[in-house]
Symmetry: C2
Subunit: 350 residues, 2 copies
Amino acid sequence: MITLAVDCMGGDHGPRVTLAACRQFLDNHPDARLLLVGLKDSLQSFSHERATVVPATEVVAMDDPVEIALRRKKDSSMRVAIQQVKDGTAAAAVSAGNTGALMAIARYILKTLDGIDRPAIATQMPNAQGGATTVLDLGANVDCSAEHLLQFAVMGSALVSVLKGVEEPTVGLLNIGEEIIKGSEVIKKAGELLRSAANSGDLNFYGNVEGNDIFKGTVDIVVCDGFVGNVALKASEGVASMVVGGLKQEFSRNILTKAAAIVAYPVLKALMNRMDYRRYNGAALLGLRGLVFKSHGSADTMAFEQALNRAYDAARNNLLDRVRTRIAHAAPLLAPGNAQPTPGAAATTY
Amino acid sequence: MITLAVDCMGGDHGPRVTLAACRQFLDNHPDARLLLVGLKDSLQSFSHERATVVPATEVVAMDDPVEIALRRKKDSSMRVAIQQVKDGTAAAAVSAGNTGALMAIARYILKTLDGIDRPAIATQMPNAQGGATTVLDLGANVDCSAEHLLQFAVMGSALVSVLKGVEEPTVGLLNIGEEIIKGSEVIKKAGELLRSAANSGDLNFYGNVEGNDIFKGTVDIVVCDGFVGNVALKASEGVASMVVGGLKQEFSRNILTKAAAIVAYPVLKALMNRMDYRRYNGAALLGLRGLVFKSHGSADTMAFEQALNRAYDAARNNLLDRVRTRIAHAAPLLAPGNAQPTPGAAATTY
């Protein structure tokens, strides 16, 4: 039996979406249990033999500053959900709430793994191979050092080996050219560390990749600092929205184009499904002593269920142990003192 | 009469594309003259009353290191074209060659304007408003200081006011959230400088924007360091390619989808035209004492002609004087000593 703790209050839609997703998830996973965390009044309507309500008296708002969420709302649904992981009553926590608050609370309650200075946010983006590319960091850390990027590569490799069953997933370093002389000093040094890690068998390092390689599917994992990753993710979402909006506009231009839309609909629908960001919802917070997954705040029921699925898969496949093992193996390269953590402002949304 | 110097040897296709584009450009601009720079043998077939061949004996290869291009090929078509601008025989130079080499040679020959530490590459990306968003820097500079970002904002404003006729174009600072507390120390300081510039009437500063705002068309100009801009540009190209590839794949799946493709073709074509990156070809190298435009290396005839059009518009509207005036006006904020130039590795392709 796999037990997940769900922050039912998080996200733009709250319990309306999270509870509907929880029901579907329970129906699809007979060996799963859910701890539904939130305001009693909001959750009392839900009843399922494998679900238990865990009351919390506060809710972290989407625009709460990290300090408020962390210091003033000690009985928030987000924090209580993460506490379940700390206490061992749940194998993973899932929230669609404020990313910055989630990261700060998770880090405060669970602490980071040995050898990890900073947790990272890893998500998947659809690629032209029909699969998805895992990208980290997505905004938890700005101003990363080369050592942080190496830590992200090691953690990302563990994540992908667990979620996709690829034993030695390929890692690319996001850069502005393929040549090793490209990029800032930090990126060049990160390239050196990643090559060392590849030589010692800790990583399957492909080399530098560029922004378009995320969507080509050139590598399984793309590593970058949180600022760059966040911009790349949002830029790509922006392009996708623009294309979808443009399609709608062009097809509704006149009676002829509307007729064309009816004919083309099944084909366009197939494409949309393939590239649907909702299918890839559920970002992993990696590097903590416990599993936490972040759903997009705007997730609908289908998308939030994907985040639950991802947390379930990670828990069932012992992601935490795998990350720990890989980190321990790469420890000589990650030696303390190599990395100087300087706290960066986390993104509210990833 | 506006005279442009064209490096006819640059780009993936060389004279086959550049000469065809030059002919179309001349046909469409009766008041333009072209100096066609390149190997004599490659250009001798071209004849037009408003075109003159300027011979060069060398060609910068797309993969030539900057040092080779700059120090060893002193009679390259790229360098001779830029020299025409320096000598005043051409109002602007256009090349589809190696970006790093073009920037280095342009900087060496033309020098930077007073108040500018580093030239930047500014390009346009299509947005959902049906227009284009100007983004800089696109890869000329990695590791920018806050002062560099301010310089980019001032130069970008001049460019857009000239090319689009918008007197006070809006400027957004690319960040990972809208709030002013977001981002790295450099970004936060850049935000302060941009607000100061707005207060003194030198800029129309909108505030922080995110990756998706480039494609929403939230602002006229998006400012970022070259690393981030390069990744955002290439990521967006990657998404666009993935969508186009996916459309082709889905529409060619079987006889029914092929029939749907025929019906939908005019509509899809209209969308493709609207979002065609070729229409926005022609990046400006800003901050130099002369006008230089960079075409994408893979440009076809239509795309290369767009780059020529852009150079022509910039020259006709005195872009250089406008940049100079704006820089002079913002000089107190750009005071020397504020910015410490540290040379970054330029991208080969932007």
